[in-house]
């Protein structure tokens, strides 16, 4: 038993070493690019999928997907996130997944007035390329009419309440969190972090956005709803 485990460790470190060496010649981004150029859904570590069938039911839209070898890394629990490119942006929605006949079926719940849901229902064609990612957690609920909203910081697991009237950077600093920052005027991108979930408002343009996973500059965005930030 002992000998066996030693061997498997060796194999593990050898394969890691080879993979490291290979990544010098072909980076993960290059690998994914060429895999796509050759018409496959193979990826270095990302779980790409090909749409095999799509159907709508009372629950929502059900996508039948053929995935690449990385599905185990994103399919945990009952939910997963599915991303599709719409007008140059990767848009993400959460659905329930199940395995059937070697395919992964993802059901995205019905949503009214949601262009992403509508796209998944009506605009997807068989053969379309999508991506699966691990589901992000549920957001804490805001207290109605409160001036502050809860912000979950995914890296530290901390939850802090921040005001909705100042930039997220200032609000987080007031709450004792010290995020990386630079110019504090929306120029340098040093404070950029992924808004995993929730709605923020760009202070200079007044535009609100809520697309999960999109990076935002927290020095020029303020919270509009409960948030989850990759900090």
């Amino acid at each position: 038993m002992k000998a066996l485990s030693v061997t498997s460790t060796d194999t593990g470190s050898i394969s890691r070493g080879l993979s490291n060496l290979f990544s010098l010649l072909v980076s993960p981004e290059q690998y994914d690019f060429w895999a796509r150029q050759f018409g496959t859904i193979e990826g270095w570590s990302r779980c790409y999928a090909r749409l095999e069938a799509v159907s709508e039911s009372a629950d929502g839209v059900c996508l039948t997907l053929r995935t690449n070898r990385h599905r185990a890394t994103v399919l945990g629990g009952e939910a997963c996130d599915v991303s599709v490119e719409i007008a140059g942006r990767n848009r993400t929605r959460t659905g329930c997944w199940e395995r059937r006949d070697g395919f992964v079926l993802v059901t995205v719940p019905r949503a009214e007035d949601d262009e992403v849901y509508d796209f998944l229902c009506c605009r997807l064609t068989v053969g379309q390329r999508l991506e699966l990612t691990a589901a992000s957690g549920e957001l804490p609920q805001a207290v109605a009419n409160a001036d502050t909203v809860p912000v979950t910081l995914t890296r530290s697991g901390q939850v802090v309440n921040v005001g909705r009237d100042t930039s997220l950077l200032e609000a987080l600093e007031e709450a004792g969190v010290k995020p990386t920052f630079g110019c504090r005027r929306g120029v340098c991108n040093r404070c950029s972090c992924a808004r995993v979930r929730g709605q923020t408002v760009d202070i200079s343009s007044g535009e609100s956005s809520s697309e999960p996973g999109t990076p935002i500059r927290i020095c020029v965005h303020r919270a509009e709803s409960p948030l989850e930030l990759d900090l």
Partner: protein
């Protein structure tokens, strides 16, 4: 604030100027979407195809013209990757796509300097404190005296030689810039801190050197030296090109350097004005702009670092119109003209020189 730093504009005019520039930015940001995504994906494809073709031809470089073509294609790939792709992506210009491989905060580029160092020394320090002496390390890169406002010492006499070396080894200059070695020698930074900061840099350097100078040459078998030389020359071409473009962006005759005091009581619009006065553009055709990573539109890049750079050509028309209305100088010229001015600065300020009009000193002394 001295009216000299406001280019003769009063506070209201300065604010109005800033508001017009800001409105222009918002108008373009509102349009950002599918076209921008398509553009950067094409650039990614160009980087990938030219690299594979270049490296492929170098593997066949027993036929001499293939060595030349392969080297040039690899240099082209590295130039596009550094400038139009890496530099612009790291500014967060394509963050809107929500595509992990094009995320500004994580992108790692194909040069020895780490993306993280660049994000701090360039994105933050250089872009926030553009041409402010003592705050923007790009003013002379701690090696050159390019403005009479910098204190002269005999160290600068052979600076044409330093500049030539910096041009040839530009990626190494960028790599060590953030380490601020001068502070270590002067005892203002500990060796322990330097060692800690060196760690990620050494890791990156090792990867870059292994890739270009060991693994790819080894893969070519008997052509080891030929591939090694091709990679070396491609890196040199990229170094000299980026050095040339970047130096033309802030060190032409009319590009200005500022004292730290400009930051005190900064008026609305003044930040934009400072970006305009500290930067200079290069005229050229579409391909010239792409190859310069659109840093040929240095003024627009400094006014709008987060707007996808392919839009600068259109924006520059509007910026020029705004500048004309406010009577502001818009610094632009062809590469040979602007680079000639840069060379003159390097030669001239190797020797003692004094600012011709010393705005802030007269202000400080109350003269």
């Amino acid at each position: 604030m001295s009216s000299q730093w406001s280019a003769g504009l009063n506070d209201a005019e300065l604010a109005a100027f800033g508001a017009e520039i800001e409105a222009l930015k918002q108008r373009h940001l509102a349009e950002v979407g599918e076209r921008d995504a398509r553009y950067i994906k094409r650039i990614v494809a160009a980087v990938r195809y030219t690299e594979v073709l270049g490296r492929g031809l170098l593997f066949l470089s027993f036929i001499p013209p293939f060595w030349v073509l392969g080297t040039l294609l690899l240099a082209l790939s590295k130039i596009l990757e550094n400038m139009e792709l890496g530099h612009n992506v790291m500014h967060g210009q394509y963050d809107f796509m929500n595509e992990p491989s094009l995320r500004g905060a994580d992108y790692e580029w194909d040069i020895v300097g780490t993306g993280d160092n660049w994000r701090n020394s360039h994105n933050f320090k250089h872009h926030t404190y553009t041409n402010i002496k003592g705050m923007d390390d790009d003013v002379g890169y701690g090696l050159l005296r390019l403005f009479p406002e910098q204190r002269w010492s005999p160290f600068y006499l052979p600076q044409l030689l330093y500049a030539t070396l910096l041009g040839l080894l530009f990626q190494w200059g960028v790599a060590i810039q953030e380490l601020e070695l001068g502070k270590v020698f002067k005892g203002r930074k500990s060796w322990a801190q330097l060692k800690a900061e060196m760690k990620p840099l050494l890791k990156k350097t090792k990867r870059q050197l292994l890739k270009d100078y060991l693994l790819f040459p080894l893969l070519s078998g008997p052509l080891f030296l030929s591939v090694f030389a091709g990679n070396l020359v491609a890196n040199l071409i990229r170094n000299v090109w980026t050095f040339t473009i970047i130096f033309c962006g802030h060190f032409t005759t009319h590009a200005e350097v500022f004292p730290k005091s400009v930051l005190e009581n900064e008026q609305p619009g003044h930040w934009y004005l400072r970006q305009l006065r500290g930067s200079s553009n290069l005229k050229g055709g579409k391909w010239f702009h792409i190859l310069s990573g659109n840093l040929s539109h240095q003024i627009e890049h400094h006014l709008f670092p987060t707007v996808p750079a392919w839009r600068y050509a259109a924006m520059s028309q509007e910026v020029q119109a705004i500048c004309q209305r406010y009577g502001l100088h818009y610094n632009t010229g062809y590469l040979h003209q602007q680079f000639g001015q840069v060379l003159w600065r390097i030669v001239r300020h190797a020797f003692p020189s004094r600012p011709e009009v010393c705005y802030w000193r007269t202000e400080q002394t109350g003269a």
